[in-house]
């Protein structure tokens, strides 16, 4: 059952590309939409914990198995939502049938990889599927084939390879000192290991490697270039889900379920989180390019997730997962809006926009909602998750960090409001008088996301009970 989530998208790619299947290619959009939508809906009904039969190749020491817990379900939901919306946006951005087909193929490929990332139960498989997804995203980024996109891809590849080296090294060390790559086995063996220095080296390497993938300061530098130079749908997909799953989810998984509980590791996570929040927020303040600003904002918000994770308490975990979900939603919404703006005005430079809420009211309104949620204004969803993070920090005695997190919200609000003012408010610029709402797909996507932002805020207790609190429970197997 669980393996279907990985196999079906992968098989779809193969089947649609079979030479005799030419006529069916037109259906790939609807089929993918059905697939991603089904995944989002299915995540409500999956039972936890559940395991797929694991198998071991004869003579191999790797045991491949799948498992599903509360965290994975939340991730499956996020993947489903963002992938469907990316699909819709891509369909309205790419008119050329062939390009559209290629794009959707890559999308299916990446979703297959991400589903595997959130379901696997050993670190080596985790690494492998991270790489598979990353390869799909390299191609996606360079999809535009212009020079800037190419150079951004190159930067991403270089830093990703460095991250891969870190992670592989770490996996080798872990295998050496614990004799296994399975999450549970490592979790049990690592604290008892005599090689404390080696263990710490492995932990440090793994965290650093994943921080590169997640784009955390100081490992973040590839991210703004990639987000701002890739096409609209791609930046939505990358910012909304890919880097979150590859980096942030993997970090949450290894830090809280694989590595031993350790105060210094928590301290490292907290420091990286706080650094990301402030540096990225300040950098976002100085940007004039809309997508670049959103990229920095992503880094800053991921910093909040790290703060929740760094608490190492069940509440902190739940808060981190909830902020993960909220961030996925509101950042996707902002990127959808950015896509609409790019499509209509032909630029992402905020200085060349102004008063656009006159001609693009839906985009303007949903963007305000997303900004407020990002800044943590009640009763929108972002408020609750930030509140939980601050409470978790307070409970663990990190008063100064809690205070700093609240203070950073002001920075968040300031750069997002500055964006609103420059782009949407005020008098409509003369040269933008011809603009209008960009296509049905984009409007639909932004309305759906805005609805989730508001609903998740208003029905916060329901979301908390069904999706967030199950995250706390440790599931091995």
């Amino acid at each position: 059952m669980l393996s279907l989530l990985i196999v079906v998208p992968f098989l779809s790619v193969i089947i649609f590309n079979l030479p005799f299947f030419n006529r069916g290619r037109g259906f790939i959009f609807w089929w993918s939409l059905l697939l991603f939508g089904a995944q989002a809906v299915l995540s409500f009904f999956l039972t936890i914990p559940s395991y797929a039969t694991s198998f071991q190749l004869p003579g191999s020491m790797f045991k491949f198995g799948l498992m599903l817990d509360g965290l994975s379900i939340l991730m499956l939901l996020c993947i489903g939502i963002v992938a469907s919306l990316t699909l819709v946006v891509a369909a309205s951005v790419h008119k050329d049938q062939r390009r559209k087909f290629n794009f959707i193929n890559l999308l299916l490929f990446a979703v297959s990889g991400m589903n595997a990332v959130v379901l696997v139960a050993d670190i080596f498989s985790l690494y492998v599927f991270i790489e598979i997804t990353a390869v799909a995203s390299y191609v996606l980024i360079s999809f535009e084939k212009d020079l800037r996109a190419m150079s951004a891809t190159f930067k991403y590849i270089v830093l990703s390879i460095v991250a891969s080296v870190f992670m592989l090294l770490s996996i080798a060390i872990l295998l050496l000192i614990t004799g296994s790559t399975h999450f549970m086995a490592i979790h049990q063996a690592l604290p008892r290991s005599e090689h404390t220095f080696l263990a710490m080296l492995a932990v440090g390497l793994f965290i650093s490697g994943l921080s590169v993938k997640a784009g955390l300061v100081p490992f973040h530098a590839w991210l703004p270039d990639v987000y701002s130079h890739s096409s609209a749908a791609v930046s939505l997909f990358l910012a909304g889900i890919v880097s979150k799953i590859l980096g942030v989810y993997a970090l949450i998984r290894v830090v809280s379920f694989v590595f031993m509980p350790d105060a210094s590791v928590d301290m490292v996570i907290l420091s990286i989180g706080l650094l990301s929040i402030f540096i990225a927020a300040l950098a976002a303040l100085a940007q004039s390019d809309l997508k670049r600003m959103l990229a920095y904002s992503s880094i800053s918000q991921v910093g909040y997730i790290m703060l929740g994770l760094g608490c190492a308490t069940p509440l902190g975990m739940a808060a981190a997962a909830f902020h993960f979900f909220n961030h996925t939603i509101f950042k996707s919404l902002l990127f959808v809006n950015a896509a609409a703006l790019e499509l209509e005005t032909g630029t992402t430079d905020m200085h060349r926009m102004g008063g656009l809420s006159k001609t693009m009211p839906v985009t303007g309104f949903t963007s305000v909602l997303a900004s407020l949620s990002a800044a943590g204004v009640p009763p929108l969803a972002g408020f609750w998750s930030k509140l939980l993070i601050v409470i978790a920090l307070w409970q663990t005695g990190h008063f100064a960090i809690a205070f700093a997190a609240i203070l950073a919200s002001v920075l968040t609000l300031s750069y997002l409001l500055a964006m609103q003012r420059m782009v949407f408010f005020g008098k409509l610029r003369q040269d933008l008088a011809h603009t209008h709402e960009a296509g049905f797909g984009l409007v639909l996507a932004s309305i759906v996301l805005a609805f989730i932002v508001v609903a998740a805020g208003l029905f916060f207790p329901f979301i908390l009970d069904v999706f967030i609190l199950p995250v706390r429970f440790f599931v091995g197997g």
């Binding site: 150079s151 190159f154 930067k155 270089v158 830093l159 460095v162 991250a163 870190f166 404390t196 220095f197 710490m200 080296l201 932990v203 440090g204 390497l205 965290i207 650093s208 921080s211 590169v212 100081p218 490992f219 530098a221 590839w222 703004p224 270039d225 105060a263 210094s264 590791v265 301290m267 490292v268 990286i272 540096i279 300040l282 950098a283 303040l285 100085a286 940007q287 920075l411």
Partner: protein, 614 residues
């Protein structure tokens, strides 16, 4: 029977709704509704008068029930409220005929009566507060519709009364907390500790409702800006009745005010201060209605002084004065309305010689003016005598304040009557004639009551007022025969004669009735005080406004400084920092790679260092 207690509130409310929805063309219908509603209410209270009953409905919660209680005191006040309500509605029908905002006027008028009935009947402090605050809203409306520039006066009334009501609200909360209940008939607190605070807060609510200083300053402004029937009903009657009713309730029932308490002295000081200061201001007014409004304030002083003595004779005097004042003050405002309606002005400089033109109005004015001045055997004389006696037994100074107040009262009414009804008729008033019958009837009825309550003073005293205190609190005083004190009576008569001589002297000095008080206005010492009072130095509202403006200026200055700190220091620093960070992102991946490696080394070194210490 007890279910009927709802009706005095419900009838006017329903009628108010009705008048509000009657179209403009059917003016007569609206007037009929108003008249019949007030008449029905009056008859109903007459019918209910002798009853003693309670009606309780569940409302907001356990201690917030909708409880109404009719007993001798509330029945007496109800009778007065509805009696005046009926007479003044009759007057309004004729007086208001040519005015604008009639729809709102009649609605507010009826709502005012309904809420006043509600406030008097309610036996729950919270319920009473509900009606009390409701009155504040209609008060604002009634003043605001008076004229084009009445909005300022209305706001002033709203703010002053609102502040006092806020005090009362806190007082009620405190009182409920201390007593454990909000039911008025169950509360009985000794005056000590926190309950002193509660008493003072409730007292502020009560005396500000009655219009005592320092919560008075909206009344003279409203007198100019608003319609006469409003002045004759609300500040002259309803507010006095409610305020003094509540003051009596808190001093007699809710708390036990005794003569030994310093609160009694405080009340007496407020009372005598109000008498003197307000009457001094009344003396120099040059507008009919404004002059009367200062007397409306000054007379409250007598009532508060009487009740503040905490002696049975003083309380009886205070309550008797309350009803007497309601009668003559209301009638005086009505005469002002008649004169204004005929001549188009209330300015004393313009008025004059109306005695021949408006003889009935003049007679009514004369009767009520001598009543307010305390000339025997009119009603004002008897209530003042009771207060004098009580005040004298508490201290000579309070008696002196009261008697000097009487002197100025008499002087200012001599001046007013002289200016309006005597002297030559000016060009503008040539066409003036007697007011219509509907306006005369209320005045005549009220003037008759002035005489009746004077001649047969034992009827209201023994039947209406003495039962309020009850036998044991009267300490054997009986009011079936008036307890006349010969020495005090002689003193009063001497003072009145002096006031008359003073008036003649003043007229001789200045040559006109209007300026008969100018020698007092220009007296040394008083002159400076008057000058400042006319520039509103003593109006708490204006002083408060100036104070607030200064506070605002200071707050703004502080705000600018904080803003500078933020804009100039914090924001600039952040922008600088943001710029530095931005410039470091050179899109050069070797640099980026360096950062990642540096980060890795930092993480690993930190982790090594941390386990080394273990």
């Amino acid at each position: 029977m007890n279910k009927l207690l709802f009706l005095p509130i419900l009838i006017p409310l329903a009628a108010a709704l009705g008048t509000f929805f009657v179209p403009h063309r059917l003016r007569k219908v609206r007037e009929c509704i108003t008249l019949s509603a007030t008449a029905a209410n009056f008859l109903l209270t007459l019918f209910l008068f002798k009853n003693d009953c309670v009606y309780i409905l569940p409302w907001l919660g356990p201690s917030f029930e909708f409880s109404l209680r009719l007993y001798r005191f509330s029945a007496f006040i109800m009778l007065a409220v509805n009696g005046f309500g009926f007479l003044i509605s009759l007057y309004s029908v004729f007086f208001m005929s040519a005015k604008a905002h009639l729809r709102q006027f009649y609605s507010y008028f009826l709502i005012t009566i309904a809420f006043a009935c509600g406030a008097v009947l309610s036996d729950n402090l919270f319920l009473m507060l509900f009606f009390w605050e409701g009155l504040l809203l209609v008060l604002f409306g009634m003043i605001a519709i008076g004229s084009n520039h009445a909005f300022k006066a209305a706001t002033k009334a709203f703010i002053i009364t609102g502040i006092a009501d806020l005090c009362m609200m806190i007082g009620i909360a405190l009182c409920g907390y201390l007593a454990g209940t909000l039911t008025m008939s169950k509360i009985n607190l000794p005056l000590q500790g926190m309950s002193v605070v509660a008493f003072i807060l409730l007292m502020i609510g009560a005396i500000s409702k009655a219009g005592s200083m320092p919560f008075h300053s909206w009344i003279p402004d409203a007198a100019i800006a608003s319609d006469v029937p409003f002045m004759a009903l609300v500040p002259a009657v309803l507010e006095k009745l409610l305020g003094i009713y509540f003051l009596t309730r808190i001093s007699l029932d809710l708390f036990q005010l005794n003569p030994a308490s310093w609160l009694s002295v405080l009340l007496m000081i407020i009372g005598s201060g109000t008498i003197l200061l307000a009457v001094m201001m009344a003396l120099i007014q040059k507008n009919y209605k404004r002059l009367l409004s200062y007397h409306a304030i000054s007379q409250v002083g007598y009532m508060i002084l009487g009740i503040g003595t905490a002696l049975p004779i003083g309380i009886v005097g205070g309550l008797f004065h309350m009803i007497n004042n309601a009668i003559y003050k209301s009638a005086l405002f009505l005469t002002a309305g008649s004169v204004e309606k005929q001549t188009g002005t209330a300015d004393l400089e313009v008025l004059g010689g109306l005695m021949k033109k408006m003889p009935v109005t003049f007679v009514c004015f004369a009767v009520t003016a001598v009543s307010i001045s305390g000339v025997p055997p009119f009603n004002g004389f008897f209530s003042k005598e009771l207060i004098y006696e009580a005040a004298l037994s508490r201290g000579l100074i309070f008696y002196l304040a009261a008697i000097i107040g009487s002197f100025f009262t008499a002087a200012s009414f001599l001046k007013l009557g002289h200016a309006v009804f005597f002297g030559g008729v000016s060009e503008k008033n040539k066409s003036a004639q007697e007011a219509s019958w509907g306006m005369l009837v209320p005045m005549i009825v009220l003037s008759l009551f002035c005489i009746l309550f004077g001649l047969f003073n034992s009827v209201p005293l023994a039947k209406l007022i003495a039962p309020v205190l009850g036998q044991e609190r009267l300490h054997g005083h009986s009011f079936t025969v008036f307890p006349l004190n010969l020495k005090l009576t002689i003193a009063t008569v001497i003072v009145l004669v002096l006031a008359f001589l003073n008036h003649i002297f003043g007229v001789k000095m200045s040559g006109s009735g209007l300026h008969a008080a100018d020698h007092i206005r220009r007296a040394p010492l008083l002159r400076g005080v008057y000058d400042r009072a006319e520039r509103r130095f003593f109006d708490p509202y204006d002083v408060g406004r100036i104070f607030l403006k200064r506070m605002c200026a200071i707050a703004f200055w502080v705000d600018r400084k904080i803003d500078w700190l933020y804009e100039g220091v914090v924001a600039k620093f952040i922008v600088w920092l943001a710029g530095v960070i931005k410039r470091r992102h050179t899109e050069n991946y070797s640099v980026y790679l360096g950062w990642a490696l540096a980060g890795l080394s930092l993480v690993v070194v930190f982790l090594f260092y941390s386990i080394k210490g273990r």
